[in-house]
Every structure is written in structure tokens, then in C-alpha cells.
């Protein structure tokens, strides 16, 4: 009972050990590690540290700063395993690029539009209303389909 009240139901250790739960296990462990760390160091944090907590990220590796590629390559069938992996990578990169091209409104444009305070739906709705009103004025209301009348015998 108390365990349930505490938070959402946790996955048992036995289940997490199973082979197909590897991804979930990784996620759960990461979260737990984060929580434990926060609890442990909470009293060591000064107010100044809390106020300026996440303006900077320290990244000591060039790999991320310059977006370097993996340094394991093979050409013309010297190492078929590596070449297969390279092909899969290229394919996924191409798919990503194509997806970006497909959308004619970029994510940034969309974000700008929404942040300007224009509800993208509201205009659409107004237009619809307008069209309906025009229709009403222009032509006679479409007569309702007459109810089925029972034949009199």
C-alpha cells in the first residue's frame, strides 16, 4: 500500500533483468541514479549554486563540439560488418533529411507563428463560420429530408 502511494508502480527487479527490458532498465537506472544524487548532495548546495544552476554545460570532448563522425570506416569490402553499419547510418541520416524537406513549414517558423500569439486554429474556425454565414444568406436553407411516412392503407 505504502509503496503504491509513494509514486507510480515500480517495475520489479526480476522483470528488469529480463532480456527484452534492457532499454527500460537503462531508463529506470538513470532516473534512480539522478534521484539518489540529488538527495545526497541537496544539503551541500548553496543558494548561489541553485540560482545559477543551468546556464552552462561543460563538455570537455571535441567529438560533440565539432560533431565529429565515428572513426571506424571500411571501404570496398575490407570489413563487411563495418560497411553494413555505415550503410545503416547513412540511410537513417538520409531519411531524417528527407523528413525535414517534406514539411514546407519549418519547426522554427511554426514556433515563431505560435509565439506571436496567433492561435493557428482560431483563424481557420473564423473562416469556416464566415463561409457558413455566406451560404445561409445566399441560398435558401436546404430543406430537411422528410420523415418516412407510413403508408395509409
Amino acid at each position: 500500500m505504502t509503496g503504491r502511494d509513494h509514486s507510480k508502480a515500480k517495475l520489479s527487479k526480476g522483470i528488469l533483468e529480463m532480456k527484452f527490458m534492457k532499454r527500460t532498465k537503462e531508463k529506470v537506472e538513470k532516473q534512480q541514479f539522478q534521484e539518489e544524487g540529488e538527495e545526497y548532495f541537496e544539503n551541500l548546495l548553496t543558494t548561489r549554486m541553485k540560482s545559477e544552476k543551468d546556464k552552462f554545460i561543460i563538455e570537455p570532448s571535441f567529438t560533440y563540439c565539432e560533431k565529429l563522425i565515428d572513426g571506424r570506416l571500411s571501404f570496398q569490402g575490407m570489413n563487411p560488418d563495418i560497411e553494413r553499419l555505415m550503410e545503416i547510418e547513412n540511410e537513417s541520416k538520409r531519411v531524417m533529411l528527407e523528413k525535414k524537406k517534406e514539411t514546407d513549414i519549418s519547426d522554427e517558423q511554426m514556433a515563431r507563428h505560435i509565439s506571436r500569439g496567433v492561435n493557428p486554429l482560431s483563424r481557420h474556425r473564423k473562416e469556416k463560420k464566415y463561409i457558413r454565414r455566406v451560404q445561409v444568406e445566399d441560398e435558401e436553407p436546404i430543406p430537411k429530408k422528410p420523415k418516412f411516412l407510413k403508408p395509409v392503407d
Binding site: K22, K67, L68, G77
Partner: protein, 236 residues
């Protein structure tokens, strides 16, 4: 002294742009930069550069490898100590590589790794107070591109600026060489390069091409590859 992007920075110089950067997005401080409260100070000598989004780093020339978490390195197994292999990764200290950190390894089924083997591994732990730790699997237990490299290749070292140049996504060297020449290659962020081609001649030619790339502009890479290919044809 205060410096801005594109200037040469010396250790101790204050980076001006970042302190006045008042956007809400996070600023990434790359290698060569340190934070002292609100002030960002350079800790290496080199050119201050700005990458994508708010990424700042110092582009410096360096030969001593300092391990960083998540980097791929080429190392040489030097010792078997109980459950771990000691691997020389050209850093100040040897790195540990557990025998369980290979694909499909278990207590009973040990991986076949000998002293003297060359491995391509990822740094899992790299902190200034601890021994670096390597792995040859990803978090899902797959080996991917990591693992032991075959013993009939050649290993040589180069500067980090060359490694960064040839691993840049814009650098056409490997693709161009790949059109002319069959080869298998592993480049570690620790400045070690392992290559294997069909013959000794070809292996040396590829190695020379990579070393020559250090002082070759990206636009001249094509002629460099052609020259290497021509040279190989003459020798045949």
C-alpha cells in the same frame, strides 16, 4: 585580456562574448574553457571558436591525450590483471578494460584478447581522479563498431588537430580514398590511427595520404587522392 570569437586566446584570457550572452538557451563550454563564477576563462592556448548553437571551444594544437568520457580511442592491450585488461591509450595512465565489456562475454565464455592486441574502445569513465575505463559494447550489449582490431594492420600516431580534421563531416578524404582503394580504418580521438589495406604498399600509401592531409586544404584533397592512386598504379 579579453578575447572574442576568432581571436587567439592564451590561458587566463577572459572570453568576452559569453559573459554578455544573455539568451535563455544554455551555453556549452567545450575543451579549453573554464568557468569561474560568471566569468569564462581560457585554459589552453589556441583560437576561440563558436560551433553550432551556443557552443564555444578553443581550437588548439595538442599531442598529449587527456581522456574524455564517451570518446572512441585506439589502445594497445599491455597486461592481463585478474578480471581486467590494462590498455595503453596514450594518456597519463593506462585504462582498464573489463573482460565482461565485450559482446557475448560471460564469466565462463571469456573474450579472446591477447597482450599486444589493438582495440577500438569507448571511454566509459574518464575523470581526473580515477583510472579511465574502457568498454567494447554499447549500453544494449551490442559491439557495434568497437572491438579488437585484427593483427595484420598498421598503427601510427598523429596530432589531434589532424584527427579532428579528418573526422569532420565535411572532410572528403576518406570517401575519396575509398573510391580508389580498399581499406579498413580506425581513428581514435587519442591520435592513434589503425589501418589495414590489401597489401603493405597500399597500407603505407593510405597512411601517407592521411598524414599528408594535415597540411592539405579541403579543396585540394581530391588531387592528393589522385596522386596517391597514381603512385600505387606505378608500383604494381
Amino acid at each position: 585580456m579579453e578575447v572574442t570569437v576568432g581571436d587567439v586566446a592564451m590561458p587566463g584570457d577572459i572570453i568576452k562574448d559569453i559573459s554578455t550572452h544573455n539568451t535563455k538557451d544554455k551555453i556549452i563550454l567545450g575543451p579549453g574553457l573554464r568557468r569561474d563564477g560568471e566569468v569564462i576563462v581560457a585554459s589552453k592556448a589556441g583560437v576561440l571558436r563558436k560551433g553550432q548553437s551556443a557552443t564555444y571551444y578553443i581550437d588548439s594544437y595538442q599531442k598529449r591525450y587527456i581522456p574524455n568520457r564517451g570518446e572512441n580511442v585506439v589502445g594497445i592491450v599491455t597486461q592481463k590483471v585478474g578480471d581486467i585488461f590494462k590498455v595503453d591509450i596514450a594518456a597519463s595512465e593506462q585504462a582498464g578494460l573489463s573482460y565482461m565489456a565485450f559482446e557475448g562475454a560471460s564469466k565462463r565464455n571469456r573474450p579472446d584478447v591477447q597482450v599486444g592486441d589493438v582495440v577500438f574502445a569507448k571511454l566509459l569513465v574518464a575523470s581526473k581522479d580515477m583510472e579511465p575505463e574502457l568498454v567494447c559494447v554499447d549500453s544494449l550489449g551490442k559491439k557495434g563498431k568497437l572491438g579488437v582490431l585484427s593483427s595484420d594492420g598498421m598503427l601510427f600516431t598523429c596530432s589531434f588537430s589532424l584527427v579532428r580534421k579528418i573526422l569532420n563531416p565535411e572532410c572528403p578524404l576518406f570517401k575519396m580514398l575509398g573510391k580508389e582503394q580498399a581499406y579498413d580504418l580506425a581513428v581514435g580521438m587519442n591520435g592513434r590511427v589503425w589501418i589495414k589495406a590489401r597489401s603493405v604498399h597500399e597500407t603505407i600509401a593510405v597512411a601517407n595520404a592521411i598524414l599528408a592531409a594535415e597540411y592539405t586544404a579541403l579543396s585540394e584533397m581530391n588531387s592528393l587522392c589522385n596522386r596517391i592512386a597514381k603512385m600505387l598504379l606505378q608500383q604494381r
